[in-house]
Amino acid sequence: MIRKSLLLLLTLIPIVGIACDAGFATLATKDQQEIGIQLEPAEPEVGVPFIIFIDTCRTDANIDQIEVDAIMPQHNHGMNYQPTVAQLSQQRFKASGLVLHMPGLWQFSIVLRADNEQDLVRWEMLVD
């Protein structure tokens, strides 16, 4: 009985799969698409490098390039570091090397490129 249940589960997983951006926060892009983001650690600390995972499974376009940046709009400066973005799979990207060097309000931007078109997501985060 247990073995049959296990077999059933194993055959179902490839069909059902894991939710495309499970555990990610959903953001709307300028063109009304949706992407998922996940920060690691979830609450970045000032001066400590962190990562943003980006999932594009809900977008119509075939995103093949992503750029990530952050600025402090009240202070008129960005980060001292340039993140790099690696494509982990067709719809999963990893932005590394983000460091917020000052506490306060940060505005993040993600530029999504597909063929000759691009889309944009922005959001703000207060960092203590």
């Binding site: 202070h75 008129n76 090397g97 000052m102």
Partner: protein
């Protein structure tokens, strides 16, 4: 004692000590900011890039090297001749000289283990690589590594103590490996230079533990702390337990030197990226982790011109003079500098958080009182 008499005494005390009835109140957000300035000592788990970090033999060897004049040309200078233990591992003067006049003020070595960048322009990304620079700098200790190598290799006590720390005989190390070994031993010692707890730390701990205030700081010092957190905006750069987030800023201090221009962080990043001893080099002992993330991603920006490393404010009252060029001789000068800030001297694309504070004499005194406690 009757009630009337008690009341007369209470009124008399309030007249003589008016502050008794004026306890400083702290908002929830201010308490959160104060809490973020600790705990002290700050947690620290060793430097993964330096295999000698926290090794007691290495610390002992590093301490002996720190005072060893064999690390310089003609055995003229040791690290300790500028980073003097009796002046908080600084030198108490604006600009010192080695074999030539120097253009940057000698920073204190206390608490350097908490830094991410080293040198006033962050040209080094580890304490050990920073420790190499003055040894080979022609203006500072001007040493020839081949001569140092000969002397240390012939020192039986030194090589006997060193041998268990390295793989293979010391004689097999090349010049770069000798320099890096010396740098790592020096760094292992400098990591032990940690300043003690202050009344501010006790005050911080009280508030972090839920107290509404604490008499560890006087009313005047607490007023100074409020300026530090609020209108002074000092905490935006001088945050964290080390009272600096360790990055860089342009506050309008001149970058002209006696011989030309100091490019500051701009030159620092250029030097870092060319350095054979940075965290991306073979000398980084961390093969598993992410210790090179900052070095990999630091980017050269126009605004880096005129930026210098934000120093820690711990022991600031004991480490005059101030700024990368030692141009401000006293804390009063520093406070006046920020109070009367010349915005014309700031770069156009510079830090918008800076503006003249226009502090009253009372506010200046309060801010100074607080700085002296840090």
């Amino acid at each position: 004692m009757g009630n009337a008499r008690r009341l007369r005494w209470a009124l008399l005390l309030l007249c003589v000590f008016p502050g008794l009835n004026n306890a400083v109140e702290w908002s929830a957000s201010e308490k959160a900011l104060i809490t973020s300035l600790g705990p002290w000592p700050a947690p620290w788990f060793g430097d993964p890039t330096n295999r000698f970090s926290e090794d007691q033999t290495a610390v002992s060897l590093g301490q002996s090297l720190f005072f060893d004049r064999r690390l310089s040309k003609n055995e003229a200078l040791a690290c300790a001749d500028c980073h003097r233990p009796d002046t908080y591992f600084s030198d108490g003067i604006s600009l010192n000289r080695g074999f030539a006049p120097l253009e940057r003020h000698t920073p204190s070595l206390l608490n350097t283990r908490l830094q991410n960048w080293f040198g006033w322009s962050g040209e080094h990304d580890s304490l050990w690589s920073q420790s190499i620079r003055p040894i080979i700098s022609p203006a500072e200790m001007a040493a020839d590594i081949r001569l140092i190598r000969e002397k240390l290799a012939a020192d039986d006590d030194f090589t006997k103590a060193l041998q268990p720390l390295i793989e293979g005989p010391a004689t097999a190390l090349d010049d770069d490996e000798w320099l890096v070994t010396i740098g790592k031993l020096l760094a292992a010692y400098q990591e032990t230079l940690v300043s003690g707890r202050t009344r501010f730390d006790a005050f911080r701990d009280a508030l972090a533990g839920g107290a509404t205030s604490s008499d560890e700081l006087s009313n005047q010092e607490q007023q100074g702390l409020k300026i530090f957190l609020n209108e002074g905006r000092c905490i935006l750069c001088h945050g964290s337990a080390n009272l600096s987030f360790g990055e860089f800023g342009d506050i309008g201090v001149s970058f002209f030197t006696a011989t030309g221009v100091d490019k500051g962080r701009y030159g620092g990043i250029q030097a870092l990226q060319k350095s054979p001893y940075n965290r991306l080099s073979r000398f980084n002992d961390d093969r598993q982790g992410t210790s090179a993330t900052r070095t990999e991603h630091v980017t050269l920006l126009h605004r880096n011109w005129g930026e210098f490393r934000v120093p820690s404010l711990r022991n600031v009252g004991n480490t005059a003079p101030y700024m990368h060029n030692g141009s401000l001789l006293t804390l009063d000068d520093v406070i006046d500098f920020y109070s009367e800030l010349d915005e014309e001297r700031l770069h156009f694309d510079g830090e918008k958080i800076l503006r003249p504070l226009n502090l009253s004499n009372e506010q200046k005194a309060a801010l100074k009182a607080m700085l002296l406690v840090f």
